[in-house]
């Protein structure tokens, strides 16, 4: 039944220890470091403009309220205040932002400021601009807003009832709803020896909270109608697609510039409302305006990761532990405004069966609005939530049926020899070896001495548990998946751009379309270029940051979705290859030989086998740019190359909801050992191992760094990072005072391992791996379950975030969670 249309050309697994020639695969010193360790980086808040005004937003204290009036007169009287902006003005000057969903979600009206209603605590209602940051705050307090509080809804399931509707134009809180049905779940159910039912699982709301808050400095040129935005938007291509029609201007009127960004993790993708407000202010006040988000505003109003409830999970299992698939009813809570949603409603389908060979999957998926902060594609976006579900399924099934969770995984994992593997909905897992990664993780964590560790812990009165978290990081999106949600959308495929040129003095200059936030793009790009052009990374100048005016951006440019190693470096490789070709052509024309006789070595173009006949790069650059008389008229060489990388995608089959949605699948398998104090619920992670496989590692140190960082974020999310609300809709963890992110003392001892399963589909055999997939969350939940439960008894770990008091609750009232699970054996 499966049709695999691509055959691999190269071996799928690279053994550890292979030394590659050139700079690819080496941990060369990072170009970004020199400026960053000296505090010489340029983050948007470092940029200043003469006479700029500082923006402060007036935000709703109500979770849901009608806005009766906004009176800015007292604010305007304050000396030093330059001006204000209210929702009424925004409604006149702009059109609502483009919505991705089908009706009713399509009818939502989303503006730069709240118009008519505030829909979550922190929803910006007005903006004030003043001479100093402090005055802007003073002035904001003088803005008088009259609210008429409305009933609010803070729970996804409650919201489904549409008793409290957030968006009257939509008439319903449901943003999108649909059923996905692949394989034959009913037959699988009939064929099962056991059916395990899990009534409810919940993936909690949290976010990666980048240390640098969002913001921008916006300048408006009255003569040309041009806006320049110095900011930290990590996907400006898409930002412009939202902002330009809203502002009623052409896309080229919005220039996005950034150099250094202090972390993004998906939190800086939906900044278009605030940016649009700043654009309007810059134009209205005829001066540059600067907005820096407060930490409290970031947590309250911009943005959270998707919160998802999984209901009626049904898993058919054979006697021998083979799982045949699953059914789930998922409710995704996207907060007050969808914005990038409902893409989250399909993106999980990139990893429908997780790491497993399950062929029959049925998912009933609904997304709703609630009066909470809007969500954005936070690290792991939508796949992490779904992969957590698959891991919980495996662990709970194993626990209930008395099976070894390690053996069950190995039995159900996609097997090494099955790659490239087509999933039930047509996604192609390119390469991998999950069982081998698992073995390495178990070895690193000392699995053989597990029983000894358990006895030792128990002798000290502790409960001991070990758990596995397997995850995939699917990278390089086919945006055609959006058509599966809304056939009217005209998005498909993907792209990224790079330019490489050889300057008059022989300098190699590269510009990228991406928007790095610490992933080392300048460095890895220079490695690729150096290898192709036969020079060193130090000889390659990669312009720092992003500028839409460099002519190296395309529709999907940005840094998100674990794709730079494929799309960004694919573009760099394409451009460098083309430039190399031109350099050889030029040298050949000068030497009077064939381009095939030319090689690029040590920053020279020389005739193979005749190192004396060599042109240094400087000569090539000078000849073409300044000394080109006498060159053959048909020599089509500019030494300034722009290349657009396009991954090989088809539009998906809308009828069957079938097709390849992502190009690469990196693996991370983590193992976690922990001890719980049953008196208090406090637990300690005593050992931890993380194994990754991202195909060819371009820069090993950078890959390891991403694994460390992803692990730390996942461990935070597993133990104490959660966004909870009180009954009024106030966020109880609105800043780092209450929202605890791991610090250096919180990190467990970590061991790392890796393999490299080259991707057959990408220009460099590498896979994107920046997100990680939340393996730490899956592993901790599994370890807690292992420590707390016994076959058919004990509590069930049903939430992704398990703080100490939550574990204590599980210990105190096991029957409450125990009843979430039932097993039907035939």
């Amino acid at each position: 039944m499966t049709e695999t249309t691509v055959t691999p050309e190269r071996p799928l697994v690279v053994e550890e220890g292979d030394v590659k020639p050139g700079f690819i695969g080496q941990s060369v010193p990072r170009k970004e470091d020199k400026r960053l360790v000296q505090g010489e980086g340029v983050f948007f808040d470092d940029v200043k403009r003469h006479e700029m005004g500082y923006v402060h937003f007036v935000r709703s204290p109500y979770a849901h309220a009608r806005i009766k009036s906004v009176d800015v007169s007292k604010a305007l009287e304050l000396d030093g205040v330059y001006g204000t902006l209210t929702g009424d003005e925004v409604a006149i000057l702009t059109d609502p932002f483009f919505e991705l969903s089908t009706p009713p979600g399509a009818n939502i009206k989303d503006y730069a400021l709240a118009v008519g209603r505030a829909r979550h605590v922190g929803d910006p209602v007005a903006a004030v601009v003043a001479r100093t940051r402090e005055l802007a705050r003073d002035a904001a307090e003088l803005v008088e807003v009259e609210y008429d509080p409305l009933r609010h809804v803070l729970d996804g399931e409650e919201s489904l009832k549409d008793e409290v509707v957030l968006h009257e134009e939509a008439g319903s809180n449901t943003v999108w709803s649909g059923v996905f049905d692949w394989g034959d779940f009913d037959a699988a159910l009939a064929d099962a020896d056991h059916v395990v039912r899990i009534e409810r699982l919940h993936f909690d709301r949290f976010s990666s909270t980048p240390l640098e808050c969002s913001g921008c400095l916006v300048e408006y040129n009255r003569g040309t109608g041009q806006w320049t935005i110095h900011g930290n938007h990590q996907m400006p291509g898409v930002g412009a697609i939202w902002m330009a029609p809203a502002l009623r201007v052409g896309i080229d009127k919005l220039r996005f510039v950034s150099q250094d960004i202090g972390g993004g993790f998906g939190n800086k993708i939906t900044l278009h409302p605030q940016y649009t407000a700043c654009c309007l202010l810059a134009r209205k006040l005829n001066r540059p305006v600067q907005w820096t988000e407060w930490r409290t505003d970031q947590h309250t109003a911009n943005t959270h990761g998707n919160e998802r409830t999984f209901l009626d999970v049904t898993v058919p299992v054979k006697k021998d532990g083979t799982m045949l698939g699953f059914f789930v009813r998922a409710i995704d809570d996207c907060g007050a405004f969808p914005r990038y949603e409902p893409l989250g409603c399909i993106i999980w389908a990139q990893v429908t069966p997780g790491c497993y060979r399950w062929r029959n999957v049925r998912v009933d998926f609904t997304q709703v609005c609630t009066n909470k902060s809007p969500v954005a594609p936070n690290r792991g976006y939508s796949r992490m939530q779904h992969l957590w579900l698959t891991e919980r399924i495996v662990d709970i099934v194993a626990s209930e049926l008395g099976l070894d969770p390690i053996e069950v995984r190995k039995k159900n994992y996609v097997k090494h020899e099955e790659f490239p593997y087509e999933t039930p909905n047509g996604c192609v897992y390119d390469s991998g070896d999950y069982a081998r990664c698992l073995d390495i993780a178990l070895d690193l964590i000392g699995y053989d001495s597990l029983e000894e560790k358990r006895r030792d812990a128990e002798s000290r009165g502790k409960l001991f548990g070990i758990g596995i978290g397997s995850t995939l990081d699917s990278g390089t999106n086919n945006f055609g998946q959006s058509m599966l949600l809304n056939p009217e959308l005209q998005f498909s495929g993907n792209n990224e751009v790079a330019t490489v040129k050889l300057d008059i003095f022989g300098e190699i200059v590269v510009t990228l379309g991406t928007v790095p936030q610490g992933q080392g793009h300048e460095t890895t790009a220079s490695q690729v270029v150096a290898e192709i052009l036969g020079c060193t990374p130090d000889d390659v100048n990669v312009r720092a940051g992003h500028d839409t005016y460099w002519n190296s951006t395309a529709g999907f440019s940005g840094t998100y979705a674990s794709q730079f190693a494929v799309t960004g470096l694919g573009a760099v490789k394409g451009a460098a290859d083309k430039l190399a070709g031109e350099m050889k052509q030029l040298a050949a024309a000068v030497f009077g030989c064939s381009p095939d006789d030319i090689e690029l070595v040590k920053s020279q173009a020389r005739i193979k086998g005749n190192p004396e006949a060599a042109l240094p790069f400087m000569a090539l650059g000078a000849i073409l740019n300044a000394n080109n008389a006498g060159l053959p008229p048909d020599l089509d060489v500019t030494l300034n190359v722009r290349y657009v990388y396009r991954p090989p995608f088809e539009k998906p089959d809308l009828e069957r909801k079938f097709g390849n949605l992502t190009l690469t699948y990196a693996t991370q398998i983590h193992a976690c050992a922990l001890e719980i104090d049953p008196e208090t619920g406090v637990y300690d992670i005593v050992d931890y191992a993380a194994v990754d496989d991202c195909g060819n590692r371009i820069h090993p140190q950078i890959v390891d760094g991403q694994v460390h960082g992803a692990t730390a974020q996942a461990l935070g999310a597993a133990t104490h990072e959660i966004f909870t609300y009180d009954e009024e809709g106030n966020l109880l963890t609105p800043n780092f005072y209450d929202y605890h992110v791991p610090h250096a003392l919180d990190m467990p001892p970590m061991k790392n391992g890796f393999i490299e399963s080259e991707s057959p589909f990408t220009p460099l055999g590498a896979k994107g791996m920046g997100e990680g997939g939340g393996a730490g969350i899956h592993a901790v939940c599994a370890a807690l379950q292992n420590a707390l439960g016994r076959r058919g008894e004990g509590p069930i770990v049903w939430r992704s975030c398990n703080p100490y008091e939550g574990v204590w609750d599980l210990l105190q009232k096991p029957e409450e969670t125990r009843k979430l699970v039932s097993v039907e054996s035939r």
């Binding site: 204290p61 409290t296 309250t300 009024e728 809709g729 106030n730 609105p734 800043n735």
Partner: protein
Amino acid sequence: MKVTGEKQFEAPPDTVWLVLNDPAQMAQTMPGVESFEIQDDRHWRAHVKIPLGLGGLRMSIDFEKMEEREPEFAKLHAKGNGVGAVLNMDTSFHLSETDGGTNMKWEAEVHLLGPVASMGQRVLQPIVNQQVSQVLGALDKQVQEAKAGPMTSTEGP
């Protein structure tokens, strides 16, 4: 959050009623009142400073008498604004005659919004409890004075 309570006064219901319904006297029972203005017999505004860690939370609170049945029942609505805090409160009290005095049953539904509410969640209950006991203590004193001396007309501070 909801707060309820009961209190006994050694004074007749008429006396307690007059104290409760006289804005000037009520102002003296409320903790932290720095000034107040009477708009009419159903509306008044108080400027208060509620102790909240260092310094205090300053608020302007508008009171509106929604309903009353002299001398046994009254319902008030309060709406307050301060830096980082919005307060909405509905409170009502019932008076009944007892042997030698008055029984007052009261309840309040308090909604606190804004960053102060988010960050102050943990200490909110104790502060509310403290405020309530202060009000009741001051009320007692007011009622004693009213019982003792002639009932004077309103004189604002």
